[in-house]
Amino acid sequence: MNEAKPIRTVLVANRGEIARRLITACRTLGMRAYAVASEPDYEADWHRDAHDVIPLKGATAAETYLDAELIVKAALSVSADALHPGYGFLSENADFAEMCARAGIVFVGPSPAAMRAMGSKIEAIRIARETGVPTVPGVSGAGADDSTLELAASEIGYPVLIKASAGGGGRGMRLVREESAFAEGLEAARAEAASAFGDPTVLLEKYFESARHVEVQVLADGHGNVVHLFERECSIQRRYQKIIEESPAPGIDPSLRVQMTAAAVALARQVGYESAGTVEFLVDDNGGFYFLEMNTRLQVEHPVTEAVTGLDLAAWQLRIAAGEELDFRQSDVTLRGHAIECRVYAEDPSNGFMPSVGQIAEYRAPRGPGVRCDDGVAKGSTITPHYDAMIAKVVAAGADRNAAIERALLALSDMVVLGVTTNIPYLSAILGHNAFRDGRTDTRFLERHLSGWRLEDELDESTWIAAAALEAFGLGRTQENGDGRDADGSGDRTSPWTQPALSGWRVGG
C-alpha cells in the first residue's frame, strides 16, 4: 500500500488493554479513535479515551469482535479511514484484511498476501528454508497419512511436537516423547486442530528439551525499508502462553544477535512485509537457532521493545499504514538498558490457574520511574468469562537486567487487585528466583523451578496478625458499600442504613 492516504479516523477493532494502547497511539498522532464494544464491555474502562464507542450486540467473541462483517460495518458507520486490529481476534485474518481494502478502509498491518504466506506454518517454513533461514528439523503433514508421519517422527528423533498447521497459542499441539504414544498424540492434535481452526492438517517438529524462545521485532514500511528492533526473550511460558518477556535476551551474544536479526529482516523482505511483525526462533544450548513462525501483527509484548529502543511501535504501524516512510535507519536504532514485561492474569496459580471472574473491588496500577502499566481495567470493572483473562501488563525498564528486575518486583508488589484472584505473587516468585536472576531462562523454566508453588508458603506471622487485627474494624471494602465508603463510616456518612437492621427472622417454636 504505497499510495498515501491521510488517516484521520481509526476504528480500534479490539478490546481490553491493547484497545486502550491503540487509542493512545491514535491520540499521539492526532487521529480520532473509535472503539467497538460487546455487551459485557459497554461499561468497560478501556474505551474511556475513545472519541466514541460503537456498541455491538452479543457477548461472545464470535458474535462481536470476531465478526468480520460487523466490524467492517462499524468502521464504515463512522467513516473510518483505517482499522487497527490489535492482536488476536481478526488481526491475522487475511480475508478480513481484504474485506477492509474492498470497503476502502486501510487495514493497519501487512498485505493479505504477506499474511497468507506467513499464516500457514507449513508455507512459512518452506519460505524460510528458501530464504536460507534455519528451521527446526521437521516435516509438513499436508497430504501425509498417519503411518508416513510416524515414520517421519522416528527419523526426526523423539521427543517430537505435533502442531496444528493453522494454529497458534498452543491449541492443537501435542508433545510425544516416545514412538508408542505417537498414534494417540496425532489423533488428539488432529481433532483439536479441526475443532479450533477447521483444518486437521498437522506438522511435526523436533522438540528441544531445553531451549529458549527468542523473537526478533521487525518494522517495514511501504517504501522498501526493513529494520529490526532487536530481540525479545519469551521463554517463561505456561502451556505455551508467554507470561514474562524481556529485551534484550539473556544468553544471546552479539554474534548470534547479528545472525538472528539478519535472518528476520531477510524473511520480512522475502514476503514483502509491511508494518510491525515478529519472527520467532528457538535457540538451543549450543547457539543454534531455528525459525518457528512469524506473527504478522503487533505482539502483546511489544512494550519491552518500545522501552529499550524508544520507538512507538503502535504509532509507527499507523504512520506506515498512512504511507509514511521510516525516518530512521537500522544504524540509528540502539538498544538502551533492559526491559521486562509481566502479564497479569485474573487466575489463581495456587488452584491450577483457574480463571477468576468477578468485579474488581480495588485496583491500583503500579507507577514510578521506568514503570509502565498497560491495563484494560479499573476499580469496578467486571472480569467476564467471555475473553482472555489478561488484565494488565506491568513493564519495568532499567539501566541493566538487574535494575529492571528490581523495578519490576517493586512494581508488582505495589499493584493492588482485589475482588478477583491474580497471578501477581506468582510473577514475583518467578522474578525473584535465582535461576531467573541468573538468566537461566528456557521454555521449561516454570515446570523445572515453580511447579508446586503455593502463595501460602510465603506468608509469615504478620499476615495472621494483620488479618485478625482487621476484624476489629468494620473496615475494608465490602460488596455492600462498593461505592467506596468504609464500613466503619469514616468516609461518606450519608444514609448509612440502607436496609432495616433486622432481617433473617424465621418464626420458630
Partner: protein
Amino acid sequence: MKVTLSIGGQTRSAHVIKRGDVISVSFDDGVEFLVRAERQRDGGMTFRPVERPWDGHVNGQSDRQDSGARRTFLYRDGSERQLWIDGKTIRYRRIEASEVREPSGSGSLSATIPAVVLDVLVSLGETVEEGQTLILLESMKMVMPIVAPHRGSIVALNCGKGDSVAPGSTLVEIAAEPASK
C-alpha cells in the same frame, strides 16, 4: 472479640482487643502481638508493630525480623476475605460463631450490615416480651436496636459487647413461647 480465621488450610482463633489505634491480638496458640493501625487516605490500612518486631518465620525460618510497616487492603464478601499485604494477596475465611453452633430451629435475628455490638441487654434463658430491646448495634456512628418481634425465651446469644458482626451472622435466637395468660 473472638476471631477465628482459616488461612491456607490452617485455622486459628484469636482474641482481638482494640483500644484507640492500638490492637492487641492474642492467638489461642500463645502468640501475642500489639500493632498500631493507621488508616491511609487511599482506603488502605497500615500496621506497625508495637514493642517488638514481627515474628518473621516463613516455613519455620526466621528471615523477616523487621519492624517495618505492613500495608494492607481488605476486601470482604460475607465471611470471605481477600487481603492484600505488601504485594501478596491471600484469600481466606472468617469462621463465624454461628457456624459452629447448631441451629435451634427457632427464630433468629441478624445484622444486615457490618456493625459493632454496643451492648447486650439480655442473657441466655431470659424471657423477653415483644418489642423489648435485646441488643444495641453501632455502625457508622449510628445506634440501631435489635428488638424482639414477639414474646419468647433467648435460646442462643452469639455475640458479646464489642464484637464486630458481619452481615448475615446470627446474633440471637428466640424460641417462641405461648403468650402469657
